[in-house]
C-alpha cells in the first residue's frame, strides 16, 4: 500500500475512532463521588488528543498529496490496491477460523474444537489434507488438553456434548 493511501486510511480511521470514543466519553455519568477530574475527564482529553492528531495526519497527507500531484499518486494507489485487499482477505480467513472456534467450542467442547482449529489452520496455511494432518491435529490437541486440562487442572470448556454423557 502506498504511503499516502496508508496515512489517509489511518488518519480517517483514527478520526472515526476518536469521534466515537468522544461521543461515548461525554455520556459517562458524573457521580457524587467525582473528584476534580471525574470519570470522564481523562477519556475526554484522550479523545480530543486523538482527534487532533488524526486531523494533523490527514492534513499532512493532504499536503503531501498536493505536493506529489494527483497524476503521480493515483496510478500507484490503483496499482497497489488489489494486493492490499488480497492480504486482508488472506488474513480474514484465519480470523474467521478463530471466530468459528469461539462459536463452536461452547457446544462441542475443548478437545474436538481445538482439534478442528489445528486442522483448519494447518490446511488453510497450505498443509495437504491427509491422514497425517489429521493425526498431527489430534496429537496436538491432546498435548494441549493434557497440559492445560489435566496437568494444570484448568476447566477447559466441556461443551453441551459433555452433558449427554
Amino acid at each position: 500500500m502506498p504511503p499516502l493511501s496508508r496515512d489517509l486510511i489511518g488518519g480517517a480511521t483514527a478520526l472515526l475512532l476518536a469521534a466515537a470514543y468522544l461521543a461515548l466519553a461525554v455520556q459517562i455519568r458524573s457521580s457524587a463521588r467525582d473528584d476534580a477530574i471525574g470519570a470522564a475527564g481523562l477519556p475526554k482529553i484522550l479523545g480530543v488528543a486523538m482527534l487532533a492528531l488524526a486531523l494533523v495526519l490527514l492534513l499532512r497527507t493532504g499536503l503531501a498529496w498536493l505536493r506529489a500531484g494527483r497524476a503521480l499518486a493515483a496510478p500507484a494507489e490503483g496499482g497497489q490496491a488489489v494486493p492490499a485487499r488480497r492480504q486482508i482477505l488472506r488474513a480474514s480467513g484465519l480470523v474467521a477460523i478463530g471466530i468459528l472456534y469461539l462459536l463452536i467450542v461452547p457446544h462441542v467442547g475443548y478437545l474436538p474444537a481445538i482439534t478442528l482449529l489445528i486442522l483448519a489452520v494447518a490446511a488453510y496455511q497450505g498443509a495437504t489434507p491427509s491422514w497425517r494432518l489429521a493425526g498431527i491435529s489430534i496429537a496436538g490437541a491432546l498435548v494441549l488438553w493434557l497440559f492445560f486440562g489435566l496437568l494444570l487442572g484448568i476447566p477447559m470448556p466441556g461443551g453441551a456434548i459433555a452433558h449427554w454423557f
Partner: protein, 503 residues
Amino acid sequence: METLAEVGAQLLSWQLLLAAFIGVAWGVVGGALPGISPSISMALLLPFTYALEPTPAIVLLAAVYVGAEYGGSIPAILIRTPGTNAAAATVIDGYEMNLQGKAGLALGISLYSGVIGSLFGLLVLMLLSEPLAKVALAFTPPAYFGLGVLGLSIVASLSGESLLKGFMACLLGLMVATIGTDPVTGGNRFTFGYPDLLGGVAPILIMVGLFALTELFAQAAIPGEGNRVRSSPRIRLPDWPLARRLIPSQLIGCVLGSFEGVTPGGGGTVAAFISYNEARRWSRHKEEFGKGSPEGVAAPETANNVVAETALVPLLSFGVPGSNSAAVLMGGFLIHGLLPGPMLFQRSADVVYGLYAGLFAASLFQLAVAFVILPTCIWLVNRPKPYLTAFIYALVFSGVYSINHSLFDLGVVLIAGVVGLFMRLLRFPILPTVLGVVLGFMIESNYRRSLVLSGDSHMIFLTDPIALGLLIFSAIVVLGSLARHVYDRNRKPAGPAAAVKEG
C-alpha cells in the same frame, strides 16, 4: 558476612535444593505458556506447599517466580508472544534474532542475562533491603504518577518512522486502559453492559493479540512474511567479546530493575521497557536495535529478572506484596504461620536465609532447566510453517482461556490481533500501544489520587521530590528522543531512520 554464612549453610539442605529445582522447572514452563502468568504458576503449586516444611515451601514458590520471569522470554523470542507481561520488550530484538536464524543465541543471551539479573537482584535483596525499603516507602501517588510518565516517555523512541503515528498508537493504548471501573469513583466506563469488562482489559490479552495473533495474521496475509532462516536447536551462550559488549546493557537492567522492583506495583514490564530504551541510548550499536540487537535482549531480560528478586523487598520488609506474584508468596508464608514484615527477620530468620539460599540455587538451576527445555522449543518452532501456525494459534487460544476461563477474553485477543494487523499494514507502531495499555491505569489512578490528596493542587507534583525528579527525567528523555528523531530525519530524509522495526 554473617548473612552469607547462614545462606551458605542452608545450601546444604537437599530438600531446599530439590524445591528450588522443581520450582524453577515449573516456573520456566509456566512462564513460557502465553496466559499463564508467574502468579498463576505459583498459585497452582500453592496447595502442594501445605505438606512441606516452611522453608522448602517458600523456596518452591519463590523459585517458580524466578523461573517464570525467565520463561516468559522463550515464546517472546521464538513465536513473538510474550509469555509474561515483562517479556514484551524482549520481543522486539529477540524475535528479530530468531528470524535471522539466531534463536539459540537469543535464548542464550536471555538465559545468561536472566541469571546475572537474578543473582544481582538477590545480592540487592540480601544486602540493601533496608535502604531500598525506605525508597519503597517514599513512593507516594505523585511519585507513581511520575514513574508512569517516565515509562510513557519512551514512546517517542519506540515510534519508529513516524512520531505522529507513535503518539496516536500510544493514545489508542491509553484509551483501552480507560475501559472498566473508574479508579476513583468506581463508575463504569466503556463497558457496554459486559461484566467481563468491569475489571478492565488485562494488558496480557492486548499483548498476546498485538504480538502473537498479528504475527500469525500477517504471515497468512503477506507472502514471505515470517519466513526465516532455521535456527540450530542448540543454545549458544555469548562468547567473551559478546559478553563484554553486553555488560553496559546488563548494568542498566540491574540498576533500573532494582529500583522498579522495590516499588510496589512498579513491575518488571516498566523496568524492561525503560532498560531497553536506556540500553539503546547508551549503546555503541544503536542502529542494530530493533533489528536483532543482542543488547536489546540482554537489557530487558536482566531488568525483569532483577525485579523478580527485588520485588520481594517490600514483602519481606513491610509485609506489603507489591505484585500478584508477591501476594501468592505471601499466601505461602501465611499458610505456614509466618507473617512477612520486619519481625520476620527476628522470629524466623532461618526461613529468610533459606529463602535467600533457595533463590541463589534457583538462579543457577535456570541454566540446567533451560538447557533441557530450550532445544525442544527450538525444534518445535522449526517445524513446517502450516503446522507451526496452527499449533501457535491453538496454544494462544488455550493459554488465553486459562487466564480467566473466559471465552470473552478470546474475543478480545482476536480483536486486538485484527487491530494489530491493520496497524501493521498502515505502518502504525505497536509498542506505544502496549505501553499505553500497561501504564494507562497507573498514570490516571495516581494522578487523580494525587489531586485528591492535595485538594486539587498540581503543586503536589513539584513538591514531591521523587515525582519532580521522575518528571524532569521524563522531559529530558522526551526532548532527547525528539531531538534525535529530527537529527536522523534531516540526515536521512528518504529512509525510515534507525527506527525500531517492530511491524
